[in-house]
């Protein structure tokens, strides 16, 4: 419920201000397509397998979680591979960007967004065994919404995670001799500019580095008394690496992770955020069942 409140508060603030200053601010609007929905499903499944979504993997890695530390490099590589596949996906299937703000105006778009979130809350409460209202989480959600709004005001665009990860690998690949002119995605002026600039001037890179640093700071105290080793067999780390790679590829093909596409997409009034929510949630349900089975086997193999 706190997540829905956070998205709702952000939507109420950013949709009007983006519409007011379109030359300065942009929303997280992306196309809806078959490949986008399939990729969101794979992302939802993968994030359960490595116990972390886009931002969650960064936080877990910053907290010293070994599974996340294995998955994160592959997540970055996958995000880069995804940028190479995006043009093919766009040419293969129809991609239709639908902005609710452009279609129904600001008040209509905000109204539809809040109604959608309300319905999602009702569905969540119907299937929840306990209370879905938690005061601490609601406060955290409100704080998160405030930071997301500030992000739009300061950076000019909504919060995202994955773009920066792919950018880091693209820069590394360029250093190893890869020619970005061979990739349609990186030829685009916006991406070419990001590639030729410092990562410290890239908004998503800054927030992703900040997530790692913030998580490290929060987890530092007491971390010297917690064992690094996870109670699972070594082969689960191979599984984590594989799904980390899938997490990266799918997040690029789905035009964002649960932050850039779901949170920022819905808050910006992009229809693709809602498709992402349904597909990502469905994939997540499948992922929970698969993870429980594999985790049990990995735990038994380790003991």
């Amino acid at each position: 419920m706190a997540q829905l409140v956070a998205i709702g508060l952000t939507a109420i603030a950013i949709q009007p201000i983006i519409a007011y200053a379109p030359s300065s601010l942009i929303g997280a609007i992306a196309p809806v397509s078959l490949s986008m929905v399939a990729a969101a499903f794979v992302f939802g499944l993968s994030m359960q397998m490595i116990l972390g979504c886009g931002s969650g993997t960064l936080v877990n890695a910053g907290s010293g979680n070994p599974i996340a530390l294995v998955a994160l490099p592959l997540f970055c590589i996958g995000s880069f591979l995804g940028t190479l596949l995006v043009p093919f996906a766009i040419e293969s299937t129809p991609h239709i960007p639908i902005s609710l703000t452009a279609s129904f105006g600001v008040s209509g778009s905000v109204g539809i967004t809040l109604l959608g979130l309300f319905v999602a809350g009702l569905i969540a409460s119907r299937f929840s065994t306990g209370s879905i209202w938690n005061k601490k989480l609601l406060i955290a959600g409100a704080v998160l919404a405030g930071l997301a709004i500030l992000h739009v005001l300061v950076a000019g665009q909504p919060w995202g995670v994955v773009y920066g990860l792919g950018l880091w690998v693209a820069k590394g690949a360029q250093g190893l001799g890869w020619d970005p002119a061979s990739a349609q995605f990186w030829v685009h002026p916006i991406n070419a500019s990001a590639l030729s600039s410092s990562v410290l001037t890239d908004t998503t890179s800054l927030t992703s580095l900040g997530l790692i640093g913030g998580a490290a700071l929060a987890a530092w105290q007491g971390s010297d008394s917690q064992p690094l080793k996870q109670p699972v067999a070594a082969w689960y780390f191979v599984v984590a690496a594989l799904f980390g790679l899938l997490l990266g590829v799918s997040s690029r093909l789905a035009f964002g992770c649960n932050v850039g596409a779901l949170f920022s997409g819905i808050a910006s009034g992009s229809l693709h955020g809602w498709f992402w929510l349904i597909a990502g949630f469905t994939g997540s349900v499948v992922g929970v069942k698969l993870r429980d089975q594999l985790w049990l086997r990995a735990s038994e193999a380790a003991s």
């Binding site: 609007i29 950018l167 880091w168 360029q174 890239d202 800054l206 992009s270």
Partner: protein, 58 residues
């Protein structure tokens, strides 16, 4: 080994990304930093955004 070792690995990796980027000849340029206050600056956002889909509008 403790969890702190993992935290140190994560922090060193993050610094490695910045250091590698710098060593490849892209030092931080404060004049190309993201807009300090994009709202009303008319300079627009950096554009490198997760939902960016070049060619999707064609």
């Amino acid at each position: 080994m403790t969890r702190r070792f993992g935290i140190v690995i994560a922090l060193v990796s993050a610094l490695f990304v910045v250091g590698l980027d710098w060593s490849l000849g892209v030092p931080p340029d404060p004049y190309r930093a993201p807009d300090p206050m994009a709202f009303g600056s008319q300079s627009g956002a950096s554009g490198a955004i997760c939902t960016f889909a070049p060619g999707a509008d064609k």
